[in-house]
């Protein structure tokens, strides 16, 4: 294993698994915005979703670094979502008894699954580097 590959593995392992999902969804949303013909309202809807996702480790710089998903990434995400029941939805519903997208999320939040997306998306790799810098920031300041 090269030093770069070891670094990447470490970056992935250090990132909270919830962000695996967020990074992949951000890439997928950007792909929709770039490739799908949308009306102004629909485009604004997706962009506002991205804007609302900003928080915690997902800074505006990290968001901007993630590149739109390629065809393979979209297919991978589509296959993951097939694990969920057909009526499963992404919208958060507080009263819903089960977690939406429970099965696809379980698989996506594994480091080895996320690693495939990272390999295909240089933007996610750059985002991981930015996150690492942010992680290290307090230590440097201290």
């Amino acid at each position: 294993m090269t030093a770069a590959a070891a670094d990447l593995d470490r970056q992935i392992m250090e990132l909270p698994p919830g962000y695996y999902f967020i990074f992949v969804i951000v890439a997928s949303t950007k792909q929709i915005l770039r490739d799908v013909k949308l009306k102004a309202g629909e485009r604004l809807h997706y962009l506002e979703l991205l804007n609302r996702a900003i928080g915690g480790l997902l800074t505006p710089q990290v968001l901007a670094a993630i590149e739109p998903a390629c065809v393979t990434q979209c297919q991978m995400l589509g296959e993951l979502l097939k694990l969920d029941p057909p009526d499963d939805r992404f919208e958060y519903e507080p009263d819903r008894p089960i977690n939406p997208h429970r099965y696809s999320l379980e698989l996506l939040m594994r480091a080895e699954t996320f690693k495939h997306f990272v390999k295909l998306n240089p933007g996610i790799r750059a985002a991981l580097a930015l996150v690492e810098t942010r992680w290290l920031q307090p230590a440097v300041e201290a």
Binding site: K39, G41, R43, L44, L47, L50, A64
Partner: protein, 178 residues
């Protein structure tokens, strides 16, 4: 044949029961209006206006002209409308009595009609409508300058500076009826 009566309003002694439109008229005009509702008045088209004019005190050869002029004065028209309501209320006991007589007499030719009339008012037939309103218009945000500016701002923030133009276009609602 028994006639309906409106006698309570035919005399000036019941002036306090009249409405403001009637009270606003001159004494002659008020008498004219009241005469139109007389028990013995002829039908409209058979000398009703002339009868009312003479009853109100108009005389002479030109009484029909005067009657017509008086009848179509706006204030007299308003008074006729107002007085009609009073007259209808006055004859309602007679109407009820007539229906009751027809109802209580099985041999009366209008017995069934009277029964239907009463039943329709006591137990009116009910019709229930279920109205479902469907609006198929998608929720849209118009591509205003502000929206486009916000899109550009958010797209730049998300690292998507060069997005294709939105597909919004001018439209007009067309009537689906042929």
């Amino acid at each position: 044949m028994r006639k309906f009566t409106v006698t309570p309003f035919n005399q000036n002694e019941n002036v306090e029961q009249l409405g403001p439109k009637m009270l606003a008229l001159s004494e002659k005009h008020r008498a004219f209006v009241q005469a139109l509702f007389d028990e013995d008045a002829p039908a409209h088209g058979a000398g009703l206006l002339n009868y009312a004019a003479r009853k109100a005190g108009y005389e002479g050869k030109a009484v029909s002209v005067t009657a017509s002029r008086v009848a179509y004065r706006p204030d007299v028209q308003a008074a006729i409308k107002e007085f009609s309501h009073l007259a209808v209320r006055a004859i309602s006991p007679d109407a009820i009595r007539a229906v009751r007589n027809a109802l209580l007499d099985p041999s009366h030719k209008d017995n069934i009609r009277a029964a239907s009339l009463v039943l329709e008012r006591v137990l009116p037939s009910e019709t229930m409508h279920t109205v479902r309103v469907e609006d198929h218009r998608p929720p849209t945000v118009e591509a205003t300058e502000a929206v486009l500016r916000r899109i550009a701002e958010l797209a730049a923030q998300a690292g998507l500076p060069a997005l294709p133009a939105p597909i919004d276009a001018e439209f007009k609602v067309v009537d689906e009826q042929p």
